[in-house]
Structures are given as C-alpha cells and as structure tokens.
C-alpha cells in the first residue's frame, strides 16, 4: 500500500508541474508574450519595457519558469486587470459558490443514478433497460446549455415554477436564501451527470451479476433481492469513487456553461467573462487551479479506491 501511495503521489507531482508548464507555454505563445498578457492590450511600450525588466522576462526561459513557479507556490496567481483584484481573491469568492452548485448536482445525480443503473442491470435487455439506455444516450449527446434552455422554456417560462436566473447572492449563505432559483442550474448539471453515472452503475452491476459469488449465493438459495442488495450493489458502488475523480474536469466545464446560462456568480461565470474580456491573468490562474484540483481529485479517488478494493493495488503493481 505504501509503495502504491508513494508512486501515485510522485506521479501527481510530476503532472502538476506539467500543468504549470503548459500554462507557462501558453502565456509565452500569446502575441506580445507575458508582458502583453499580464499588462493588457493597452499597455504602452515603455510600460512593457519596465515590466519586462522588473519581472525578469529578459532572463533565460528556464529561470523565468522557476520565477513563475515560485510565484505560484506563494499563492500568487496573478492580478486580474478587468476586475482590478487579485486572482486568488476572486477565486476565493467564487469557488465556494461553484462547489455548492456542483456538489448539489453530484449528490442528486448519484442518488438517482444508483437505483436507475441497478434497475437497468437487473432488467437487462428488456424494455425498461432499452428506454433508459436511449434516454441516457440522448442525455449525454445533448449540449448542456440546450438542456438548460429547454428547462427554462418549460419550467420557467411556460409553467412558471422556477425562476430562469440563478441566485445572485454574494456568499454561499445568500445563495442558499434562494433555493428555488438554485433548482434549474442544479437540475441541468444533475441530468447530464445522471446520464453518465447511471450507465456506469449499469455496466458495473452487470459485471458483478455474473460473478461466481453471485452464482454461489443463488445456488444456496439466497433470495434474489438480498443478492442484489448485498453482493451486487455494494460491489458496484466502489467504481463510483473513481468516477468522481474522472468526472471532475467535465463537471467543471459543465459548470462554465451552466453558470453563464443562468448567470450564476461562480468560477465558471468568472472564467467565461475572463475569456470574453481577454483577462489573461484570470484565465491562467484559474486554469492552473482547476488543473491542480483535478490532479488532486484523481489522486484522492485512486487512493480511496485502492483502499476500498485491494485488487486495484495489486493490478497496478503488476502493470509496472
């Protein structure tokens, strides 16, 4: 176990460094290089020159990268010129609200995906399974923003149940004051995830249904319901841990779309505004943070999975 943890940990460190390297390369790909990127489009040549000298951009590229890495390690993600505020402070305000939105959506999706996926596995290749499979197929072929638009059109404009705009509070507490406004953004994200998660539960349950221990249980006369609950369900839930880690990047991009559609003041909305106003420091800072968060999420998921299921540890050792 220790060697497994150590190996995954060292791999993650390398990947995090690679993430910063990629963002660093993109900064230098910008027309005008980092000076233009960080000072904005309206910087004068004199300003750019001062900036280059002051920040060491006349030094060799490897020393520039080390400087950049040093800044990151000290928590300096850059300074947004569109908001006139440090990127880390903007992030600190937006992150909890995004986490709330995504977290609620994940909970809704998982709670629904487990019974749906199990039902499909038990009813495999029957009408219910085909119907739900078809729905899941459409679900993940659908652009998130279109699903959101349909929900707005149906539940907000026609039926007038939920407001079409997300909550506008500045803090998580204020956002929670408007639970009805939170409903549509959460629903949109949850439906897309549900399509994916239920497929996952289904295939993992089908795999477990043909295992020897299920056959043994059946042979000794254990009721089918008990088999499903004790043998199949429990073993099918472990992969969901991995799914969390794997789906993190896509959930975050779904967040960008949902937040800009419902005007929900989280990281996604901030990132989208940053992209349309060419606020590069904001974009770079966020990209690094999201990349690092994903790597950590994957690492934690892998470790939790390795902890929950010893077979994984052995397999990954053999592969080396």
């Amino acid at each position: 176990m220790i060697s497994f943890v150590a190996r995954r940990l060292s791999q993650s460190v390398v990947v995090v460094i690679a993430v910063t390297l990629i963002v660093f390369v993109i900064i230098h790909l910008l027309p005008g290089g980092p000076a233009a990127a960080l000072l904005g489009e309206r910087a004068t040549p004199a300003q750019i020159h001062t900036f280059i000298v002051e920040n060491g951009y006349d030094k060799p590229i490897w020393s520039q990268y080390l400087t950049y890495l040093g800044q990151l390690l000290r928590g300096n993600l850059g300074y947004s010129f569109a908001y006139n505020e440090s990127v880390s402070s903007l992030l600190g305000q937006a992150l909890p609200k995004s986490a709330l939105l995504v977290g609620l959506a994940v909970i809704v999706a998982v709670v629904l995906a487990i019974p749906i996926g199990m039902l499909q596995a038990v009813q495999r290749n029957r009408l219910v399974d085909y119907l739900l499979t078809g729905l899941a197929f459409i679900g993940y072929s659908m652009p998130t923003f279109w699903l959101g638009l349909l929900l707005i059109l149906g539940l907000s404009v026609s039926l007038r149940i939920f407001p079409a705009e997300g909550p506008q509070g500045a803090t998580v507490g204020a956002v929670l004051q408007q639970p009805l406004a939170l409903a549509l953004p959460v629903m949109t994200l949850a439906i897309v995830m549900l399509a994916l998660f239920s497929r996952f539960v289904r295939s993992s349950a089908i795999e477990n249904l043909v295992q020897d221990y299920v056959r043994t249980a059946r042979a000794k006369g254990v009721p089918e319901a008990t088999i499903i609950r004790h043998h199949v369900l429990r073993n099918s839930l472990t992969p969901i841990i991995t799914l969390f880690g794997l789906s993190l990047p896509s959930v975050l991009s779904g967040g960008i779309v949902v937040e800009s559609l419902f005007n929900y003041p989280g990281m996604g909305l901030l990132f989208w505004k940053g992209a349309t106003t060419h606020d590069y420091p904001l974009l770079m800072g966020f990209t690094v943070v999201v990349g690092v968060a994903t790597v950590i999420g994957n690492l934690l998921a892998d470790l939790a999975y390795g902890f929950a299921d010893p077979r994984i540890r052995l397999r990954s050792r053999r592969r080396r």
């Binding site: 791999q11 072929s141 652009p143 638009l149 990209t287 690092v292 790597v295």
Partner: protein, 303 residues
C-alpha cells in the same frame, strides 16, 4: 459542453490490439453496418444531416448574407417554414449553412486529433521507458485541464475562424486517442513480428508506421467517431458562449445564443431547431462509434 467520460477502458491496457491482416478495417465496417441496426440508424442520421447541410441550400434558396429588418423573429409560416431569427435570417436556411461549418470543424478537428494522438501514442508506447513516462505525463497534465477551459483560453488569444477552431479543438481532443494507442502499442511492441522486424534491421520509423500504427487503426477509427461528436458539441458550446466563428459565418451553438435572448417571449423556433440539429448529429456519430466499438470488442473476444 455536455459532460462526457470515456466509456472505454481508461488507459486502453486491457484491449489487445487487433491484427489488420484478417479482413481489414474496411470489411469490418461494412459488416458492422450490415448487421447492426444501431450503426445503420446512426449512419442514416449522419447521411441525412450531411445531405441537408450541403445539398439543402441548392434546393432551398435563402439569403444568409444580408439582414432583413422587416422579417425579424417571425414565427413559422409558409414563407419561412421554421420562422426567422432576430436579424431576419430564415432559420431553415440558416440551419443548413451553420451545419456546414459544424460538420467541417467536427470532422477536420477529429481527423487532426486522431493523427496527433496516434503518432503520440505509437511513439510513446513503442519506445517505452522514460520517453513513454514523459509523453504520458504530458497527456495526464492536459487531461487534468478541462478541454472547454483550454479551448476558451486559446479562443480568447486567437480570433476564432474556421481553420483556427479546427486547430484549437483538434489540439485538445487527441489525448484519449494517444492513451488508447499507447496501450495497444505497448503490447504490440512485444509481438514476435515486431521483434523480427527489428532483428532484420527495419528502421524505427518503419516499425512504428507499418507495424504499430497499422494495427491500431481499428481503435483509432472508433475513437475518431466519438471525437467528431465531441468536437461538434465543443464547437456548439463555444458558439453559444460567443467564441464561435464570427459573423457572417453561422454555427448551431451561436443560433441558440440568439434564442436565449428571446426565451422569455417564448420564441421556441429560435430554440428547438438548432438544438435538435446538434443532438441528432451527435447521437448519429455516437451510435456509429458505439456499434463499431462493440464489433471490435466482439471480434477480439472471438479470437
């Protein structure tokens, strides 16, 4: 962009590479389409969409260049079967023009991604060792950044046009292909004929192209089909977020942004057609990909 995960094995390590020798990829595809209803439906949808977008404008003439202030947001009528948008463009005609760019970008970006991913994966898997470690950690790092984030970042740096969008979407879509090909290449490298080729003195370039790449084509084609669907979704999302190709070029995602502005007026004809077009196209490619993958896996199991 919708949330998608790879449904295939994460690093492709469990799928044994197939040998192209018996029957080849082309025959496999013909058989899949002949036997599999899902594949046939998918192919049918894709063919219809292609005909609609490229042949449609020849039969159904509309003005998609100049705006018409007298015909703004008109509901469907005999003159405009799907109504008009906020600039007075006929929506049915606009769907066709927008579809052309969506399909072009989707196909070209997926092709670019497959070329890049295959080359990267084949080289990484063939050489192994530290080259493999470095190349795969790069892939891991790029996978850690959501494609939409990277695409938004790149699209905000370079003004989007159709070629730029192909490049940008292609550059964020090759990672899964690289992983799958690398997994196959690792196994192929240990095969006797690769060893033999090496002993005979074949150049490394020849081994990689003739023995590794040739044998992973099946995997690559399956993945390419999914990538077309992903690229079309990604382009639609970019268009919706206002970073698609600039006017007068049209795209399906951009058409929906206009719909958003009129959602409170209940102008459904600005919302349904473009969305249905995107979903149909993506479902079509996903059906084909799913069927191809199933048949590839079945073929491997039969062996």
């Amino acid at each position: 962009m919708s949330i998608r995960l790879l449904t295939q094995d994460e690093d492709g390590s469990s799928t044994a590479p197939d040998e192209a020798g018996d029957g080849g990829v082309a025959r496999m595809m013909v058989r899949v389409f002949a036997q599999n209803r899902l594949a046939l439906v998918g192919l049918g949808i894709v063919v219809l969409i292609v005909l609609f977008c490229f042949i449609g404008p020849l039969l159904y003439h509309t003005n998609q260049v100049t705006t018409n202030p007298y015909q703004v947001t008109k509901p469907p009528s005999s003159e405009h079967p799907l109504g008009t948008d906020e600039l007075g463009y006929d929506i049915l005609g606009r769907l066709m023009v927008a579809g052309q760019s969506s399909l072009e970008v989707g196909l070209a970006a997926a092709a670019l991604a497959s070329l890049l991913g295959t080359a990267w994966g084949a080289v990484s898997g063939y050489f192994g060792g530290w080259i493999d470690a470095i190349m795969m950690r790069m892939v891991d790092a790029l996978l850690a950044i959501p494609p939409l984030l990277l695409v938004l970042l790149l699209a905000s740096i370079i003004t989007p046009s159709v070629p730029v969008l192909i490049l940008v979407i292609g550059l964020v879509s090759w990672l899964i292909t690289a992983r799958l090909v690398r997994g196959d290449a690792l196994l192929l490298t240990t095969r006797e004929y690769v060893q033999a080729a090496r002993l005979v003195g074949a150049s490394q370039r020849r081994i990689v192209t003739r023995h590794i790449v040739a044998n992973v084509i099946g995997t690559v084609i399956v993945q390419t089909t999914f990538e077309v669907a992903n690229a079309i979704l990604l382009l639609a999302t970019l268009g919706f977020l206002g970073l698609g190709p600039p006017p007068p070029a049209a795209n399906w995602g951009g058409m929906l942004t206009d719909g958003l502005n009129y959602v409170y007026d209940g102008y459904w004809w600005l919302i349904y057609p473009a969305g249905v077009a995107i979903v149909l196209t993506v479902v079509g490619f996903n059906f084909i990909g799913d069927a191809l993958r199933d048949s590839l896996e079945v073929r491997l199991q039969e062996r």
